[in-house]
């Protein structure tokens, strides 16, 4: 048995840059050592911090750069907190990429609505960069990004270049008085971005928020097979052997997902 055949063995990568996105969020830029990652937007990897543990993260960089990988990490648990102590040059392990990516072929030539809330935007950044690189292949593209406080916003410096390629709306539910942009929850601003027709919507965020956005999109006339959600579970193996990521309907998030269309799963599977 060779190492290449064993999906449990990580490959090495080094941190080349660490970017502070917000108080709780950092983006690690990894350079893959001696291997290339052929991934598509929406897939995830298992990040191993030596001596700490392993956790799954969606790849947040463009698939056109196979030598590098960005992971945007919010401090929440053991691995994510430890990852905030990483400096350039540190060695980490990467397994993957795993999972079913966003269905790009379903989106080409159609209007696209990308809705991200909180740190969910990290899972969508790969898709956003891909769309920006291949802008002419898509119809109208709307990006709706919601967060709670102004301090929670990530990718602040990238919003401007994105806004040249697509319609970007940022809304804060607990905005400070100085905030000049939209206020309120994401669901309050769906009216301006749901275009109907063949539009494809892509969501990622906390389970509760995704649940309410999905329900709202369906109410506004999008069909279930036009709405795609990227789910979060704590996968341990990434290949459907540990059953930690089972969701109602009998899907493994790691193998059959993390991207599901709403006609495959029920709203209850997203969470509540």
């Amino acid at each position: 048995m060779k190492t290449e055949e064993n999906p449990y063995i990580p490959k090495s990568a080094t941190v080349v840059a660490v970017k502070n996105e917000s108080l709780e969020t950092k983006t690690l830029r990894l350079r893959l050592y001696n291997w290339r990652a052929q991934f598509q937007p929406g897939q995830f990897v298992q990040l191993l911090l030596p001596g700490v543990g392993e956790a799954p993260f969606c790849i947040a960089s463009s698939p056109s750069d196979q030598k590098h990988m960005d992971l945007t990490i919010i401090r929440r648990g053991l691995v994510t907190i430890a990852s905030h102590y990483m400096r350039p040059g540190d060695v980490v392990g990467i397994r993957g990429p795993f999972g079913r990516p966003f269905p790009i072929s379903r989106m080409v030539g159609k209007d696209l609505l990308i809705v991200g809330t909180g740190i969910g935007i990290a899972a969508l950044r790969s898709l956003i960069l891909f769309v920006a690189e291949h802008r002419e292949e898509f119809g109208e593209v709307d990006l709706l990004y919601g967060a709670r406080f102004p301090e929670d916003l990530v990718y602040r410096d990238e919003m401007k270049p994105w806004a040249e390629k697509m319609n970007v709306k940022v809304t804060l539910s607990k905005a400070s008085p100085e905030w000049g942009g939209l206020r309120g929850r994401v669901t309050d601003h769906l009216g301006g971005v749901v275009r109907g027709g063949e539009q494809v919507a892509v969501l990622c965020g906390s389970p509760m928020v995704m649940h309410s956005i999905s329900a709202e999109l369906l109410k506004r006339g999008l069909k279930a097979d036009q709405v795609f959600v990227s789910l979060e579970r704590h996968m341990k193996c990434g290949i459907g052997k540990c059953a930690r990521c089972l969701i109602p309907g009998g899907w493994h998030v790691c193998r059959d997902g993390p991207v599901f269309s709403l006609d495959e799963i029920s709203l209850e599977a997203i969470g509540e």
Binding site: P7, P50, G51, P207, R244
Partner: protein
């Protein structure tokens, strides 16, 4: 088919050990039957109906080491300090995962047809693409000696669960007890080789067909996702969350993978796969503390959903083999047959 007496039949484990197998036999001790590795003084129990563990514990052992690597953690006076290996320029340091594939061939002696079917289920799970390399290495060259049950106890329901027959490929030697005789029917090539080493007291021209054991209750299983959600779930108040149902289940395979090291040498890290139970809250916890299965009742129904509709969908067969271990070993007496079973007549 050959007929042998008990004494001769009990020579089979040592014959298998002589053929190079690591033999697992049911042994009796402290009032329970347990599968253990064979040694010449093992107290082999052939009268058992129920065993406290299952072939799963040998094919997917708890605490199995996946690989080992060196980290740069050190112990200081104020605790464990982890420094990530840092390099400059292109990465010359890599995470060198050292691992060895598990070797040896396993032979299961005198398992019941439900156990043989549990191996079949684990095969579907672990060998589906991509295959689990550790399970695959253990599974290769496995031999099973299946001893038919005559009668189930109060908790058995393999006939309603449809798993009383050891399927082809999961039974190398089929054995039936008939009075003081054991009827031994080798099925596969490896089984024929092992059985030919028995001193057959009597040859028999007939061949052995599977026979369903006598059941104390008969019912039909109706377990779609909606039916499990709507069905009554009684006695859950007294559930102590001991997870005995998932520990003794021959098909429960949910696992956790964690780093393990000791404080004497913290730089030597092992990635270890440990058994996980869906009856625990942390089973469904994600970053930030969101828990998807919040209550005992949700987790109880989740276990049944994983066994029946989810397994049917993902692996094409039911994950419940009807051994009844989860009912028999439950200290609160929770009976899942009341949730999934519909009485006939």
């Amino acid at each position: 088919m050959i007929r042998v007496k008990l004494g001769e039949f009990l020579r089979l484990p040592s014959i298998l050990a002589g053929m190079g197998y690591s033999v697992v036999v049911p042994t009796e001790g402290n009032g329970v039957t347990k599968f253990e590795c064979y040694s010449p003084d093992s107290a082999i129990d052939l009268d058992y109906v129920r065993a406290i563990n299952a072939p799963r514990d040998f094919l997917l052992p708890d605490g199995e080491r996946l690989y080992r690597y060196r980290s740069t953690a050190t112990v200081t006076s104020y605790g464990l300090k982890i420094r990530f290996p840092t390099v400059e320029g292109p990465c010359p340091v890599t995470i060198n995962a050292e691992y060895t594939a598990p070797g040896g061939r396993l032979a299961f002696f005198a398992i019941h047809p439900c156990h043989a079917n549990s191996i079949r289920y684990l095969d579907r799970v672990m060998l589906s693409d991509p295959a689990d390399p550790y399970y695959k290495a253990r599974r290769e060259g496995m031999l099973t000696v299946v001893l038919e049950c005559e009668e189930g106890d109060d908790y058995c329901f393999c006939v309603p669960a449809g798993s009383w027959r050891a399927e082809e490929g999961y039974c190398d030697i089929l054995v039936r007890r008939s009075g003081e005789w054991f009827l031994v029917q080798p099925i596969s090539e490896a089984g024929r080789e092992a059985a030919s080493k028995l001193n057959a007291q009597e040859e028999d021209a007939g061949s052995l067909e599977g026979k369903p054991p006598k059941m104390k209750s008969s019912f039909s299983i109706r377990a779609s996702e909606g039916e499990i959600d709507r069905a009554p779930a009684e006695g859950l108040d007294s559930c102590t969350l001991c997870a005995a149902c998932t520990v003794t289940c021959p098909t429960c395979y949910c696992s956790d993978i964690e780093d393990r090291f000791n404080l004497v040498d913290p730089s030597n890290v092992e990635r270890v796969r440990r058994r996980m139970s869906c009856q625990r809250k942390c089973y469904s916890m994600i970053a930030g503390g969101t828990i998807f299965l919040k209550t005992k009742e949700e987790r109880y129904r989740w276990r049944l959903k994983h066994k029946f509709p989810f397994s049917e969908k993902a692996f094409g067969m039911s994950g419940c083999v009807g051994c009844g271990n989860c009912i028999a070993f439950c200290p609160a007496g929770i009976d899942m047959r009341k949730t999934v079973g519909r009485d006939q007549g």
